[in-house]
Amino acid sequence: MNLFALTAAELKKIRRSFILPLLFVPLVILWVPNIINADKSLTPVMAGITPENNFFIQSFMGFAWFIFPASIIVCTVLLQQLEQKNKGLLKMLALPINPRLLCLAKFLVLVLLAFIQAAAMTGLYFLCARIASSYVGAGLMAQTGMVLRISGTLFLSSLPMMALYWLMSVCLTTPVFSIGLGLATMVPSVLLMNTKLWFLYPPCYPFYVVTSNYMKLSTDPDSAIDLVPWVPAAAGISILCLLIACLAFGHRERK
């Protein structure tokens, strides 16, 4: 089986799980208070930012800080747990399938789920900005191009984080530990983001992207993220995490 067929099989496995509602509920929880408090966006805290950009960036900050990473962690646990029941993984490994490809296919499903959530977040933004505009009686719709660019960067910057969490869920066979550790790595991202070595800490990438765009839209229009230490570091970390995950995948079952 090639990677594509394996990924399709993995998608079939999650069809009957509750993962999609679990991905959408936090978005609803995020948007309802945002619409109710939309009038606060009219008087931004930071100078120089327009109300519509403020509404957009505040909502995405809430998303990138907690909801997005937490959903990714829950997804990794689900993808791992699916195969633990009734020794499913043992049966999969008995088939003539390359276990490394299987691991990669599962990771691709994770990426797809994260993409669906990021896309749903962006789609809901356009809907909710329209509702909020009519609610407060002022235009709160930011430029479409900018919204798509920032949410696209947010998704791309979360790839190293996904690889890291995937590695954790593969190596830590007790799912509670991998979820606990994953959630715990998210909490200090606010602290580490302000240090010089932030680019070595993948869980803070998405939030860093959104906050630096916040700065760009408000006080410091000329600021840009330095790509040089960041992109090589991010690529290195992702490749390393995926490599170790692929090698370690099913190690316990194959013993």
């Binding site: 679990l22 907690f66 646990v77 959630l183 909490v187 602290l191």
Partner: protein, 239 residues
């Protein structure tokens, strides 16, 4: 007796290790934060504890909640894995004592976290600020308030974990509620009473409304305990 059994069950699950390590991490947060940004914090007005709580309470509370979620899920996962609960229920034990034994242990774990965090606040005050006579009473008051506000969350999470046989559903529900906690604390009073949202309130934040919060949390605690008793009697296990 139940507590002894519960302790034995948790021995090899990593529950104690995770609370110990998590508590250390939570205690390190204020120290690291104050260490990184000493000038910023020492130049602020107000009592040292209020400055420290303002800067760190959100992160520390999140870590506490993560541990509560994981602890509750772990406790019931050991029951549901390999049909253990079916055997437990054939013993001369009441279902309620199973639940409240677990909640007592989880609450003890939470107290342990609070003790470590209090020690960390005290260390930060001694090292970077000036220790005053009013510090200890203020710390005790704040920690007592935090305990009262967190206990309903703890009971709620345990109830969710007892209801869902699949652990990742209860984990998912816990994480969803936690995400609510990061979005809603600024909302109107009834919304801040939702489990996982209330613990983000500090005594200073609550201001004159502290009595209302305390009373509401007490009422919630009673209600949840009652709901748990009823739920345990109705629940049928299809294992």
């Amino acid at each position: 007796m139940t507590i002894g059994i519960e302790l034995k069950k948790l021995k090899s699950t990593g529950f104690f290790t995770s609370f110990f390590v998590g508590g250390l991490v939570a205690a390190l947060v204020p120290i690291a934060n104050t260490g990184f940004r000493t000038e910023l914090f020492t130049s602020l007005e107000g009592s040292p504890l209020s400055i420290l709580l303002n800067a760190n309470l959100q992160m520390v509370t999140m870590l506490n909640q993560i541990l509560i979620i994981c602890g509750a899920c772990l406790m019931y996962h050991t029951e549901y894995a390999d049909h253990a609960i079916r055997r437990m229920l054939t013993l001369p034990l009441k279902g309620e004592s199973l639940f409240f034994g677990k909640s007592l242990l989880l609450a003890l774990g939470f107290f342990f976290l609070l003790v470590l965090e209090s020690a960390s606040y005290a260390f930060c005050t001694m090292h970077w600020f000036r220790m005053t006579d009013g510090f200890l009473p203020e710390l005790l008051k704040n920690m007592g308030f935090a305990t009262l506000l967190t206990l309903p969350t703890l009971l709620f999470m345990l109830l969710v974990a007892s209801a869902c046989q699949s652990m990742w559903v209860s984990l998912g529900i816990g994480v969803i509620f936690m995400s609510m906690g990061t979005v809603l604390p600024e909302g109107p009073f009834p919304l801040t009473l939702v489990p996982f949202v209330t613990p983000f309130k500090t005594l200073a934040d609550a201001g004159s409304g502290w009595a209302a919060y305390a009373a509401a949390s007490g009422a919630e605690l009673l209600l949840l305990a009652l709901a748990a008793c009823m739920f345990i009697r109705i629940r049928r296990y299809s294992l």
